[in-house]
């Protein structure tokens, strides 16, 4: 056999349809794709930049542990939350993180159902991002309870107190939505990893890694019977995750919309929150993808087309979010309700006017620059935009939560909110937790789905014969 030495290289270069060439750099085959992605984990020397980045992230995580330690010791009075602003940065950050997670599920599930081939090289780390973002998000409400060691009271279970949760409360809906979302995201991610863990098992050189990846791969052997069930499971999970992801941010928006606080009590909240979540999430995917492809030289797999498509999704969802802001203001005026009108006017001109207009700049003005193709295809500009959007979405949650609460119906109960040192250290700490987990993920697991990359290579598809 001519191709005995390396069948991959001997594969003759059949010209691929142009659509596919843009998704994978030219000249790749099954072997080279496997080699390139698995070598990041198995063979390549860990770049010094990884150690520097990990050290910074890990240091921030230690800062979070100190901040949380002090919080547990003293109580949530160390945070800036007070009456009337009972929901401060903890809930802002909860909504911010959980929103970021949504892009991962959108990429892995909704784009799979829509047969978008470009999801393939970005879905794995976007799903990982989802998991880590949900972990960061879950931290806040648990600690916001004030007695996190009793957080299990949120779950319905038979107890000696004879108490059950109030299922009419959106906060309990949140418990169900977020815990289901975390679990299903983990399942989806792990199922996607199994064939790649088998690849790592078969390619690892040292015994301990072989055993570790072997245990995680659960004896996967690529059997056609297994793939048959596997594909069905994967597709069904995508079908289940799609309504789930929409429901999660809907339920998060119900935390506000079910209340009667002016500025919260609006039916537009669910769609506008979901669009905002996807918008923020794609920004975070870009924030991660751009350095990842640069430092690991993955430009062949995460191509300009991927980045441009993500920019387009950001633009589209950004416009939906802008529509949400417009409708919020319009409905406040059209309702002729004094308090609603005042809430919006107070946002625009009250003590937090800078936040509001910075938010408009970041989320309404800035994304419109993505209409320009030259900007949309400039990697540094996209990276900059992704940070702008992340800041904008944080401001959005700040504006919604703080400006609505700080001046409600009675002027005698008005107040001002300011995040304290411990608010900020907890927030920066979760950034540390998030990046620590990401660094570990990139180092120990394939950041790009190897088996799915094989399926989009030219020559991967075999025509079915229909007699």
């Amino acid at each position: 056999m001519a191709d005995a030495a390396d069948p991959g290289l001997a594969r003759d270069a059949t010209p691929a349809p142009p659509r596919r060439e843009e998704l994978v750099g030219p000249g790749h085959d099954f072997a080279s794709v496997t080699e390139k992605i698995s070598s990041i984990v198995l063979q390549r020397r860990t770049p010094w930049g990884w150690f520097v980045g990990f050290a910074i992230a890990f240091a921030l995580l230690q800062g979070m542990l100190l901040a949380v330690g002090y919080l547990l010791f003293v109580g949530i009075g160390v945070w800036g939350v007070t009456i009337p602003i009972g929901w401060g940065m903890d809930i802002i950050n909860f909504v911010w993180w959980i929103g970021i997670g949504h892009a991962g599920t959108l990429i892995s599930a909704i784009l799979l159902l829509l047969r978008q081939g470009w999801r393939t090289s970005i879905n794995r780390f976007a799903e990982a991002m989802t998991l880590f973002a949900v972990a960061c998000a879950a931290f806040y409400p648990v600690f916001h309870t004030g007695r996190p060691w009793l957080a299990y009271w949120l779950f319905p279970y038979p107890n000696t107190m004879g108490l059950w949760p109030n299922f009419r409360s959106p906060l309990i809906w949140d418990v169900f939505a977020v815990s289901t979302y975390g679990t299903v995201s983990l399942l989806f991610w792990f199922v996607g990893l199994v064939p790649d863990l088998a690849t790592l098992r078969d390619r690892a050189r040292s015994k301990p890694w072989k055993i570790l990846y072997g245990i995680l791969a659960m004896g996967w052997r690529g059997s056609a019977r297994h793939w048959h069930n596997y594909d069905t499971a994967y597709l069904l999970l995508a079908g289940l995750a799609t309504p789930l992801v929409v429901s999660v941010h809907t339920v998060v928006s119900f935390d506000f919309a079910i209340g009667i606080i002016p500025g919260w009590h609006a039916t537009i909240f669910p769609p506008y929150f979901v669009a905002g979540a996807i918008y923020a999430g794609f920004a975070m995917v870009l924030t991660i993808a751009i350095p990842l492809r640069k430092f690991y030289a993955l430009e062949d797999f995460i191509t300009m087309r991927h980045l441009e498509n993500m920019a387009k999704v950001m633009l589209a969802t950004g416009l939906i979010v802008a529509y949400g802001y417009m409708m919020e203001a319009f409905m406040a005026w059209y309702s002729a309700d004094t308090y609603e009108r005042f809430a919006i006017w107070n946002r625009m001109t009250g003590p937090y006017w800078k936040m509001y207009w910075a938010l408009i700049l970041c989320n309404v003005v800035a994304p419109n620059t993505l209409w320009v193709k030259n900007l949309r295809t400039s990697v540094p500009y996209l990276f900059f935009m992704s940070l702008v959007v992340s800041v904008g979405m944080w401001l959005e949650r700040f504006v919604i939560i703080v400006t609505s609460l700080h001046r409600d119906f009675l002027p005698s109960s008005w107040g001002i909110y300011r995040g304290t040192f411990f608010d900020w250290s907890a927030f920066i700490g979760t950034l540390g937790l998030f990046s620590t987990l990401l660094f570990l993920f990139v180092r120990f697991l394939p950041a790009i789905s190897i088996f799915e990359m094989r399926t989009i290579l030219p020559g991967a598809e075999v025509e079915e014969e229909h007699p």
Binding site: P7, W164, A177, V191, D202, G222, W227, L240, P243, F451
Partner: protein, 178 residues
């Protein structure tokens, strides 16, 4: 004829189209205890081996129904029977408010059914399998395609199956030890 300790015969291919063609011929020749191995899902293999439809969708449907019943049942039992509380004058059975948690449990149970069902139908985790005894089988998770005819197949005959597999032009045919 077979010999003790033999699991089957494994043919090795380097192209997806080759293994699909071979699988089709092996199936046409009457072999049923056949399995193919590929580094990524090849849909045509499912058809070539005439694999039955997966039973997984049924499991997932049942999981979803169980999740809905469990979630809604829990809410009803807790809010109406075990711990009725007048909250803002809302009825004990506030069904619209019960929808979101019941929806989430439906998804949760269905997703668990999909993953656990997939693992159960595939017999995973499976710490040992004879096919791993083939030295080059590690390439099944890289760029090689394999076709295995098991010795328990009634048509199996060591010599005849061997030469039949060779006629399908594989890279190599090897014996798989139990």
């Amino acid at each position: 004829m077979t010999r003790p300790g033999l699991y089957g015969l494994m043919a090795e291919f380097s192209e997806p189209a080759a293994v699909v063609a071979a699988a089709r011929k092996v199936h046409e020749a009457g072999y049923r205890k056949v399995d193919a191995f590929s580094p990524y899902p090849v849909e045509a293999l499912t058809e070539a081996l005439a694999l039955p439809r997966s039973r997984l969708p049924l499991f997932v449907l049942l999981g979803g129904i169980a999740g809905l019943a469990a979630g809604y049942g829990l809410e009803y039992w807790a809010s109406v029977i075990e711990y009725p509380m007048n909250i803002g004058g809302k009825p004990f059975h506030s069904w619209p408010a019960f929808v979101p948690p019941a929806f989430e449990t439906t998804i949760l149970f269905a997703a668990l059914a999909a993953v656990l069902g997939m693992l159960a139908l595939n017999g995973l985790p499976e710490p040992y399998h004879p096919v791993f005894n083939v030295p080059t089988f590690a390439l099944a998770t890289k760029d090689r395609f394999f076709l295995c005819v098991e010795a328990t197949d009634p048509h199996f005959d060591l010599d005849r199956t061997w030469s039949f597999l060779l006629s399908l032009e594989p890279r190599v045919v090897s014996e798989v030890e139990q």
